[in-house]
């Protein structure tokens, strides 16, 4: 009887349209999601560039900048992605529920948004890595986008390593955010406790079996691509567990 009250609307959005609306919601404020990350990347790149120029001019052009391929300065943008994902789970979740979105639509939409964001970064980073190679390290022989961790090798490898790395960061961030939204501070402490126990446990196993050289060798053998491939497993786990964590979360202030 009361189902008659829900008039079948021809404009009713289907499931994919609702999920896509959540993606659009993440991209509503273009500055936060596109502007700030690229500002960070740009700034870190300029700092590196300045250092290369200084080294080159101080040594009269003698020093090779090959060592910069080991530079970890590109880590900033990956760490920032973790932060973005945590913020998304916390603030955008409450906001989307305020728009009467379901948690399911919100989570699937956010996962898709993380995928889109990772894809955008991947396309840009891969392009920039080729430009870097073609310009001979930006005219100075420096390495930023084509380094020891990503950006070298065939195109599929470049795309895979960058995409996988961003996905990992987004899902680590999103599960942390989801745990915080559901269980607040206590949940975060438990999560950090679990991570600490696993870390100490892993460390204990490695130390007691004196496996350091084997571990080092494995990293070298797998290379960045192999490590990222293995990281897909925790990424997928984080994505799946995050869904169940968020299902019963409430947007309490």
């Amino acid at each position: 009887m009361t189902t008659a009250l829900l008039e079948a609307s021809t404009t009713a959005p289907g499931a994919f349209a609702r999920i896509w609306n959540v993606v659009r919601l993440h991209y509503t404020n273009r500055w936060t999601i596109l502007g700030v990350p690229w500002m960070i990347i740009g700034f870190v790149f300029l700092v590196n560039l300045a250092i290369w120029i200084i080294i080159r001019s101080a040594s009269g052009g003698q020093t090779s900048l090959d060592g910069t391929q080991w530079s970890g300065s590109t880590a900033y943008i990956f760490i920032y992605s973790i932060v973005v994902a945590v913020q998304a789970m916390n603030q955008t979740f409450s906001f989307a529920l305020g728009y009467s979105a379901t948690r399911r639509d919100y989570y699937l939409g956010s996962v898709l948004a993380f995928g889109v964001q990772s894809a955008l970064f991947t396309i840009a980073f891969v392009l920039l890595s080729y430009i870097e190679e073609w310009t001979g390290g930006w005219g100075l022989g420096g390495h930023f986008f084509a380094n020891a961790y990503f950006g070298t090798g065939p195109i599929w490898q470049r795309m895979f390593t960058v995409f996988g790395a961003f996905l990992f960061c987004f899902f680590i961030g999103s599960i942390s955010g989801a745990v915080f939204v559901r269980w607040k501070l206590n949940g975060m402490l438990v999560l950090m406790g679990i991570v600490a126990v696993l870390g100490v446990g892993g460390f204990a196993v490695a130390a007691l079996t004196n496996a350091w050289s084997a571990i080092g060798a494995w990293f070298v053998a797998s290379g960045a691509t192999g490590v990222v491939a293995w990281l897909l497993i925790p990424s997928a786990l984080a994505a799946i567990i995050g869904f169940f964590v968020l299902r019963r979360a409430t947007p309490r202030g």
Partner: protein, 307 residues
């Protein structure tokens, strides 16, 4: 007021049906076997003291929190995680969190994606009415401007079921009047079901068609606003005439000034009213706020006595 008066209308038009709803937060019982219904295309006031359970009820009705016991049916279905039901609902709460660095213009840009009936012209007019700076960060808005954002979303969304949880917070008297006026005007043109929780009962009493009063997680009043207003009348006149009229009636309040007396009595039928007028007495209405305060404190007194 008994629930019987609210079920006089057929439940076939009930948009919200709540049966024996309970909500526990750990040891705290926020709602204790609450039952009521809300009819289609009406303005209902959800009233009660701070912490009585108004926000909790709204959160359960909009699927933002989960039921512990009992049944909730909105548009015939349980609302939690039900997109078909939820897309018809707009819940405006004063504690709404906005993403960092969001500005009102972002809110008004994204709201239409979630509310099919969104009227952008109405939203623009409301932005002008409330003098809202759309390009300022929400973090930097004043309390009243922040409330205005919520109010604008609630009105412009034209959702078939709209909840306003204390939307007046921070709004000055002029802004509140603008809100009431726009709400009524839009409601007249586009009827929908509106549930409003507020402490400023007298300001909205003319708008309310139905009143649900909660105290300590229990419903203490669930009736048409007309019935509540009719439940008491103030009789004013010369002391002797007034005393003669009110003898034998339920007396709620007495007031006297010199030779004039003003006594508030219980329900008066039309013959009683005619008799009062014939005796030269004046009949004045009792404010809805006073009636509800009286009912709430009376119940509180009884409950205090029981425990």
């Amino acid at each position: 007021m008994t629930p019987a008066s609210s079920t006089a209308t057929p439940t076939a038009t009930a948009v919200v049906e709540v049966e024996n709803l309970s909500k526990h937060f750990g040891n705290v019982t926020a709602l204790d076997r609450v039952s009521f219904s809300i009819q289609k295309d009406s303005i209902t006031g959800l009233l009660g003291r701070n912490g009585a359970g108004k926000t909790t009820i709204m959160q359960l009705l909009t699927g933002q929190d989960f039921v512990t016991e009992g049944e909730v049916r909105v548009f015939g279905h349980h609302p939690a995680e039900n997109a078909h039901v939820l897309r018809n609902i707009s819940f405006i709460k004063e504690s709404q969190k906005y993403p960092d660095d969001f500005r009102p213009k972002h809110v008004f840009r994204s709201a239409p994606w979630f509310f099919e009936n969104w009227d952008a012209d109405l939203a623009e007019r409301l932005v002008d009415d409330f003098r809202l700076p759309t390009n300022r960060k929400i973090k930097k808005l004043s309390r009243g401007q922040l409330s205005a954002v919520g109010v604008i979303v609630g009105l412009a969304s034209r959702a078939p079921l709209t909840f306003f949880d204390e939307p007046y917070l921070g709004l000055d008297a002029v802004a509140r009047q603008i809100f009431y006026d726009r709400l009524l005007a839009d409601y007249a043109e586009h009827p929908r079901t509106i549930v409003l929780s507020t402490h400023l009962i007298d300001e909205v009493s003319n708008m309310l068609e139905h009143v649900v009063v909660i105290d300590s997680g229990r419903i203490i009043m669930d009736a048409a606003a007309e019935d509540v207003r009719d439940s008491a009348t103030t009789v004013v006149g010369t002391r002797s005439a007034v005393e003669a009229f009110v003898s034998g009636r339920e007396i709620l309040h007495r007031d006297a000034l010199g030779g004039l007396a003003s006594v508030t009595v219980g329900r008066l039928g039309s013959d009683d009213r005619a008799a009062a007028t014939a005796a030269g007495l004046e009949l004045a209405p009792v404010s809805l706020q006073q009636l509800i305060v009286r009912k709430t404190t009376a119940t509180y007194g009884e409950a205090g006595g029981e425990s």
